[in-house]
Symmetry: C2
Subunit: 424 residues, 2 copies
């Protein structure tokens, strides 16, 4: 039987989950996949953690050379996260002819090109199914399941932390700060939640997924990003009244070769499949010209779900006779702006607050006068102000922004309090 | 560039869709997949259809030898459906070293073993992603995306015709016959709808999917099957009142190596993802020990969705350097009953009708006395009878059947009118 040695760089949550799956399911993988995967080395400082997981101490060290110089090791799985030392270690591994498996979305999004150069040099492969949507094989679907399709759009709830927080706010009426605190207490959010709540994590994933979907590089700096930290619970409530649910969506679209990629809070209709994705679950909807819409749903994070994707990639890599790299032109980080759209066209939810004496109709009239077509207007009289909640028809950002900038000329207007895009 | 010749056996709905995708996306497939797929021969009687699709007449015939003897043809895609002549043609193709691609679930479910024997002889591959859930790459997910998992269950809405009919009944209150007639008029159901409405189609798919999921043969004769033709709209209504939606589910479970496989109308909770799968859409939920639940959703049929899966398989097969066959023991059709469960344990929805003078409590008491624990009882007084709607806790079929058989001893009981399993 084919024997393939594996190194694990880091034995934290996902690294530990991967180790557990590899040990528990080793015989099953031998029997059904025809390959014997053995963990030959582990890079980890925390010996207590190694002992806890039952890792033989003799294969534990903190020196990457023990991985690079071990000819038995064909696959290096990385769990450090962040850029360094992951980047240096993985590039060295690739150059040494070892394929890499990683869940590190930041690294892949930012240094895909450098990784591919090293992979070509070492004739090795790069596998990162686990980097997007945990255990859900969305990358396999894009690469191995939709080859005959021009993919037109990809829309996903790809961050469990923000989905947990938004679900909590919608279900209990909690405000953002309280929902975040609870997510932190339950371990769904980090002590420093910035990467999740400000949409960085989602934008890394969108850069990767839309590059694969549209078969052309969609670099991180072409992805617009807006997080959820300024979301107000009243807008979630007003959205509910209009039959909509608020989600942090990662959206990629390819319209006749013009690509847009954006991460932002988004209202979706309650009857859509994405609206039903609750708590820390993730889901991605892909539309291809032949297949129509496909949606995949599952846990986006966690030791075993992400470990499942890592092990899947390890088996996949171990059985490959020839590693293939991305088929799109990835040789330069200088990607022209010309193939991208930045002035997006969307429907919008708007909330403009005005003082008690002000005339809401003046706001509505001004927007209409400047070409903003409104499909719904509701006036919410409150104790100390009046909120005007409006839905726009599809409109270009530049046109809408222009109209909004004129609102301050109306006496009594407090200002635009919320502007949330709608996707159907 | 690698050139791979393809033959299409039949140019009906899906065959035509496949031809259109191959032609429209040929350059894209060349560019991104690195393989030039050319249609070298088409078996089709209907020359009008060929002309309509723009197929060069010189490559059209009705003689399979034109396929078998053409050395350019490496892949044979079959669209006849049914057993013969598909079976004979595909076995001959495999023996001649040509890989096959098919959406023919009946053929794969019934003759997988024979196809594999021929494939081994010809060193060719068997690809049937399109046979289950149209364009949704569920087979790729099971084989290439969950290698590190013991799969515990698979539950799917795998037949669009029945889902269309049940959705119609639930949304409009139409009875079965009217909903079926409308489905036929709209082309969602065949003139002879038996294969769909009696669950045959779903049972073929379940046999295939649960064999792959559980990595052991689950032959068709071990799959229990119950269709929707006896479903009454009032039970859909009563289920609604209890927060449940009726679906025809294909369910496979592996509980510590004991397998159950069953197709039947099933109540699922309204809050479940499966409840939201409406009309002719399909969805499959898979639970693995590592990844937890994954769900995939999309169109289960149609020329382009199914064509998408066919083309995906053609590309996949064309790029394979070595074809792998099922890794489970498939060498005999004689599979022992010992690894299967037939006396299922489920929760149930029951409706027992009694005459106007009868005492509903006698029914409830008798069931309870014989070990049927009820989680809900509602009495529905109607003009000419009283319906007793009950939900049971989990119970073995044999025990429930025994209790039900005793109901006729109670005076005034009209009888059991509905017994529908519940899945959570």
């Amino acid at each position: 039987m084919k024997k393939v040695g594996v190194a694990l760089l880091g034995l934290g949550t996902v690294g530990g989950g991967t180790y557990r799956i590899l040990e528990a399911n080793r015989e099953m993988i031998k029997k059904y996949q025809g390959v014997d995967l053995t963990v030959e080395h582990v890079l980890e400082k925390n010996l207590e953690r190694c002992k806890q997981l039952g890792v033989d101490e003799s294969i534990v060290s903190t020196d990457i050379n023990n991985v690079l110089n071990n000819p038995k090791i064909k696959i290096v799985a990385e769990f450090f996260g962040g850029i360094e030392p992951a980047k240096t270690f993985l590039i060295k591994s690739l150059e040494a002819g070892k394929s890499i498996v990683t869940a590190n979305k930041e690294l892949v999004a930012k240094y895909w090109h450098e990784l591919e150069v090293a992979a070509k040099k070492g004739k090795a492969g790069i596998y990162f199914e686990a980097s997007c949507v945990g255990g859900v094989p969305i990358i396999r679907t894009l690469i191995e399941g939709m080859q005959g399709n021009n993919i037109q759009s990809i829309k996903g709830i790809v961050n469990g932390t923000t989905n947990y927080i938004l679900t909590k706010m919608a279900d209990t009426g909690a405000n953002y700060a309280d929902a975040l605190r609870e997510a932190q207490e339950l371990g769904y959010a980090e002590f420093n939640p910035t990467a999740d709540v400000e949409g960085y994590d989602a934008s890394y994933k969108l850069s990767i997924l839309s590059s694969l979907a549209f078969r052309t590089k969609v670099p991180l700096d072409k992805v617009s990003r807006e997080g959820i930290s300024t979301v107000k619970v009243e807008d979630i409530e007003y959205g509910k009244e209009l039959g909509m649910t608020l989600k942090l969506l990662a959206i990629g679209k390819n319209t006749n070769g013009k690509i847009e990629a954006r991460v932002h809070p988004t209202f979706v209709e309650n009857s859509s499949q994405l609206a039903l994705v609750k708590g820390s679950f993730n889901a991605v909807s892909v539309v291809g010209d032949a297949v129509g819409e496909i949606m995949e749903y599952g846990r986006g994070a966690g030791d075993l779900p992400t470990g499942s994707a890592i092990v899947s990639d390890i088996v996949y890599a171990a059985l490959k006779t020839r590693h293939t790299l991305s088929n799109f032109n990835n040789t330069t980080d200088q990607v022209s702006n010309r193939k991208f759209i930045f002035d997006y066209v969307t429907e919008n939810y708007l909330r403009v607050d005005v003082g008690l004496g002000a005339n809401p109709n003046a706001v509505v009239s001004l927007l209409k006068k400047h070409g903003v077509k409104l499909s719904n207007v509701s006036i919410k009289p409150l104790e100390d102000k009046v909120s005007i909640v409006m839905l726009t028809e599809s409109i270009k950002d530049s046109k809408l922004n222009n109209a909004i900038s004129l609102l301050s000329s109306i006496s009594g207007v407090i200002g635009l309090q919320a502007r949330i895009r709608i996707e159907r």
